[in-house]
Amino acid sequence: MIAFAEAFPLALVRPEAALTGGLLAILASDLSPGANARRLGPVLGIVSCAVAMWLACAAPVGNVGTMLAIDGVTTLARLLILPLTAFLLLGGMGERRHGNDTGAWSASVVAVGLGALIAAAAANFVALWLGLELVALAGYTLVAFRGGDRRSAEAGMKFVLFGGAVSAVMLFGISHVYGATGHLDFVGIGAAFASGAPVLAGFALLLAGAGIAYKLTLAPFHFFAPDVYQGSPAIAVATVSTLPKIAAAAALVRILMTAVPPSLLAPVTLGGAIAVLAAVSMLLASFTALVQRDAKRIVAFSGIGHGAAVVLAIGCLPSREAAAAAGFYLLTYVGSNAGALLCLSVLERARGSTSLADLAGSWRSQPWVSSLLCLFLLSLAGVPPLAGFLGKWGVLQQALAAGMAPGGSSAMVVAVLLFLLATAVSAWSYLLVVRAVVFAEPAAANERTQRREPVALATRVVLGVSTVATFGFGLWLDGLVALARML
């Protein structure tokens, strides 16, 4: 027992443990007869998130063997993941009151959060892969949760097949990395690289990166996103479009910081390549979004673009400000994105779908939700003084600094310009939704377009929080500095 405690310092992973406890509690409440799991589940989940949050704030720093590394990145990831999980549970509480399910929903959400925590803390490819798989498996269930709904089922199927394939590729890469370096932990791999590993290891690492790119919906591993987001319930989209991105970003940062030799990392080489990759994703996302006719598809493409922006920031490593910029970008993104999807969830219930045609004129029946939706979308577009602007600001500042630094790569500067182009184009795609929701007249004045869907208190709370965040972070320049200090 003592030996185990020494081998496995639980103190470091209290938050994960707390969340695991919450997960088990929910499942237990599901089994226990009489207990209304649908009501109880979210509560348990939120409580466990709160506890975990509390523990995370006071968590010590260190390594759990070669498996997990609890450092600034992990802490930052925790502080993003845990509150977000709680809010997603709360949102689910509000949005799924009429679902006939048991606590499974809450369990899945908590599981996604747990997987994200593990992946974010992983210092070892196996741990990383397991964490991402947990995120994925729970995510599949969330996506396909709407029983008996064609689109939801199709979304789930596509999600699982695409995800499975990518994770297999990742695993294949990992195995070769292991074979080439004899290590599965990042530090070891980094050491091996430093002592001249075979070139095969580099390619293997690239394959292993596929899994992360997929979680960040980076081209060419983004294809699943539009279909899956369109098909699944908005509140599920809110989960699978935010938590995995945070986890993957944290993992990517750690891999680049530890497993990749700095010589290779310098913005000139790898950073430049990453920047180009990101720019391509952004352009693809922004332009493709222009012709979409469904709000959730547009959100999906926006997610692709924003994931790319995070990657652009990460491409500016090893400066810690770059990591902070990525973190802040994720913060602003998840705030606005979750808010937008929650609004869409309400409108989806009112109008039956989120196709722009069905959303037409919903401002008449639901002024507040619609206005907030537009607000969140404009924040995603990065219009000051909304939060999205400052996220962009941080990323662009890092990229441009990396580009203008003596010996910096002009690829970074080009990426910045392309980013700005993508910003303008994507703003247009967001306006497509605004146009439908606010400017357009309802197609026909029937009871569906007239109906005013009640908004649950829980939903209101979440919306209120994201609204505050959307306004509050907009001009909080020192937030970037604070995050950098945290790392």
Partner: protein, 108 residues
């Protein structure tokens, strides 16, 4: 022509490689979801095989990292397959088909 004697790594890698490529070919070419799932399984098992092989021939055979990973892979693959099949069933309930060409309501 690699030497595929059982006490050399090359043979295992070759088999794993073949498995992986076959899996990739399957998921790209199959129209039936089950077929794609099988392809994925092939790829996963290729990875598992390599883990085991690399573990066996690793310089430090003392700590069985590779073999452990292989076991993890097998477990997770099973879980994945379970979830996948459940979802196929859900699709089948609504579409009466698991042909990927037939189940294409979600598109631009």
């Amino acid at each position: 022509m690699p030497d595929i004697s059982p006490d050399r790594l090359d043979g295992y890698l070759l088999v794993a490689g073949i498995l992986f490529v076959a899996g990739v070919f399957a998921i790209i070419s199959r129209r039936n979801a089950i077929g794609v799932l099988i392809g994925i399984e092939l790829m996963l098992n290729a990875a598992a095989l390599q883990f085991a092989a690399y573990g066996r021939f690793a310089p430090s055979a003392a700590d069985p990292q590779g073999q452990t990973a292989a076991v993890f892979v097998v477990v997770v693959a099973a879980a994945e397959a379970a979830v996948a099949l459940a979802l196929f069933f859900a699709v089948y309930r609504t579409f009466r088909d698991v042909d990927l060409e037939a189940t294409r309501e979600l598109r631009s």
